[in-house]
């Protein structure tokens, strides 16, 4: 296959557009990790539930797409908080405080993931559903070299930027955001500051799950919505979070974009059938040689 800059540019653009979605999910994973020291293995299912909530709102209730997006974020946030309250909290408290990761947490996360997927079968069925959204008000971008970027991707990019900016503003410039950061760093001291730590933990979980839901609703119109969509996204998002530096929020987005570009280039120039391996490869390489991630500051690696 000949090499030309136009197609290279195209692959990079495609990588970025899908990468931001990885980034949003990774953002949630990073948020939960830095806040609660939990690697949330059921986050892909939150993403899936978010997509379905959005679908139900948009198709069955008939609200406009942006409303469905916000509604799905809220509903999934509530679901996430419920799961955290009912299950994870028990596990963390047993270990004294809110920080006991390790094996129990990982197994619990996997079990939760399996349970949520199968609960979703009950409600949504196994069939893939198309997510049709009227996005005529979004411009369709055309890049030089005849590269089309459809509306849904443009919208995704815009919303991702908005979400990131919103999250940044919330964490840096509001009092609650300050409290969230305090809880993330050390729960005991946050308690002594008079912060309602359990509430903040719920908030962190809710926020993270809301972000995953946003990713689900955004990706709906690009791909279809299906109960088993979560797992692969989870893997990509993990890769993104690790590449960007676990716990680093801007790193998560950058990591997502890197994973997106990396796997698109790999698929285009090496082999398309190994596409999913590239994300893992990146994940493993980063973990082996720079566990703190490419943009991370601090990683929980032993001394």
């Amino acid at each position: 296959m000949g090499f030309d800059f136009n197609s290279l540019l195209a692959f990079i653009i495609f990588g970025v557009t899908i990468g931001v979605v990885y980034g949003i999910v990774a953002l949630g994973i990073s948020l939960i990790y830095s806040g609660l020291d939990i690697v949330h293995f059921a986050h892909g299912e939150m993403y899936m539930f978010g997509a379905f909530f959005g679908l139900v709102l948009a198709h069955n209730v008939g609200v406009p797409y942006p409303v469905a997006l916000i509604g799905a974020m809220i509903l999934t946030a509530i679901l996430g908080m419920l799961v955290e309250r009912v299950f994870y909290r028990r596990l963390t408290r047993a270990g004294g405080g809110y920080t006991v990761a390790g094996m129990g947490m990982i197994i619990c996360g996997f079990g939760m993931s399996v349970a949520l997927v199968n609960a979703a079968y009950f409600f949504f069925g196994a069939e893939a559903e198309p997510f049709r959204a009227n996005l005529d008000y979004i411009p369709r971008l055309t890049f030089p070299g005849d590269i089309n970027v459809p509306e849904s991707y443009v919208l995704t990019a815009i919303i991702s930027v908005l979400l990131m900016a919103g999250l940044h503003y919330f964490l840096r410039h509001t009092k609650t955001g300050l409290a969230v950061r305090a809880v993330a760093h050390n729960k005991d001291i946050a308690y002594l500051m008079g912060i309602n730590v359990p509430l903040m933990i719920s908030l962190i979980f809710g926020l993270a799950c809301g972000l995953a839901a946003a990713a689900g609703v955004l990706i709906g119109p690009m791909q279809s919505v299906q109960v088993e969509m979560g797992y692969l996204m989870l893997m990509k998002a993990f890769a993104a979070a690790v590449v960007g530096g676990f716990g680093s929020l801007p790193g998560a987005i950058l990591g997502g974009i890197m994973v997106g570009i990396f796997e698109n280039l790999g698929a285009a120039y090496i082999s398309a059938s190994h596409k999913d391996i590239y994300a893992f490869l990146l994940l493993i390489l980063v973990l082996m040689f720079r566990p703190s991630g490419l943009f991370g500051v601090e990683a929980k690696v032993k001394a």
Binding site: K175, L178, R181, M193, G194, N196, V197
Partner: protein, 245 residues
């Protein structure tokens, strides 16, 4: 102000405090002395609510707080200043201080208090935009005390304010604590530095193995040979004397 009645507490099955009784009268400074692993940090955690009580009761300002969560106790004005190493290093000095006032709703008064803290510790004003991780040990200690003050406490509990600080800085910090007490805040200082703490405080408790071994007026304790005898973590001169006896 604070009354502790027969408190038993610990972690999991491990009981560390075995029946602590203590009173901190309103106004003034009380010190709690003890070496490493004697249970003084555990007692502080029990008072501020980070660990649940197994037995006993804690009454603050006439209200039983035994069942309250830490943030609820803090809203009553029972504020604990953490050890200096527990400032939030990734936040700026000002963010740390604002966090101290997290529970307060009165914005204007909070702002005024922020200025008051800056007046109290001018060095913090100079460094308000710096990340607290870049401060020196003494500055961080001032920061955490200032953060405690931001909550407009009725009672302030300090956890080893002299730890890992140069003697000169310790003196400065203790002078500040004295000023805070004079402004009407009740202070409980937990210390290993016996002599300095007993000079600062009016009343002292000595804890060992999870029980109060000795208590009394600071002036009496400081000259009590029994204190020197029993308290083995004291200064060299104290110990030297103890050895000679």
């Amino acid at each position: 102000m604070l009354e502790i009645k027969g408190v038993h507490a610990g972690y999991g099955n491990l009981k560390i405090l075995r029946g602590i009784d203590m009173q901190v009268p309103s106004g003034g400074i009380v010190t709690l002395l003890g070496g490493n692993g004697t249970g003084k940090s555990t007692l502080l955690k029990a008072i501020s609510g980070l660990i649940p009580l197994m037995e006993g009761e804690i009454i603050f300002d006439g209200v039983s707080v035994s069942k309250l969560k830490p943030h609820e106790r803090m809203r009553l004005g029972l504020v604990q200043v953490t050890q200096a190493k527990e400032a939030y290093p990734a936040m700026t000095v000002e963010e740390n201080l604002v966090l101290g006032a997290y529970t307060r709703k009165d914005r204007e008064a909070t702002k005024a208090d922020l200025q008051k803290v800056y007046d109290f510790f001018p060095v913090l004003r100079e460094r308000r935009k710096q990340l607290s991780g870049t401060l020196s040990g003494g500055e961080v200690q001032m920061l955490v005390i200032g953060r405690g003050l931001m909550a407009s406490p009725k009672m302030l509990m300090l956890d080893e304010p002299s730890a890992a600080l140069a003697p000169k800085v310790v003196l400065e910090i203790f002078a500040n604590i004295n000023r805070i007490a004079k402004s009407g805040v009740t202070v409980l200082v937990v210390e290993q530095n016996v002599r300095m703490a007993l000079i600062l405080a009016q009343y002292g408790y000595i804890i060992r193995d999870g029980v109060i071994m000795m208590k009394g007026e600071a002036k009496k304790l400081i000259s009590d040979p029994a204190v020197k005898e029993s308290f083995l973590g004291g200064s060299v001169s104290d110990t030297t004397k103890a050895l000679r006896n």
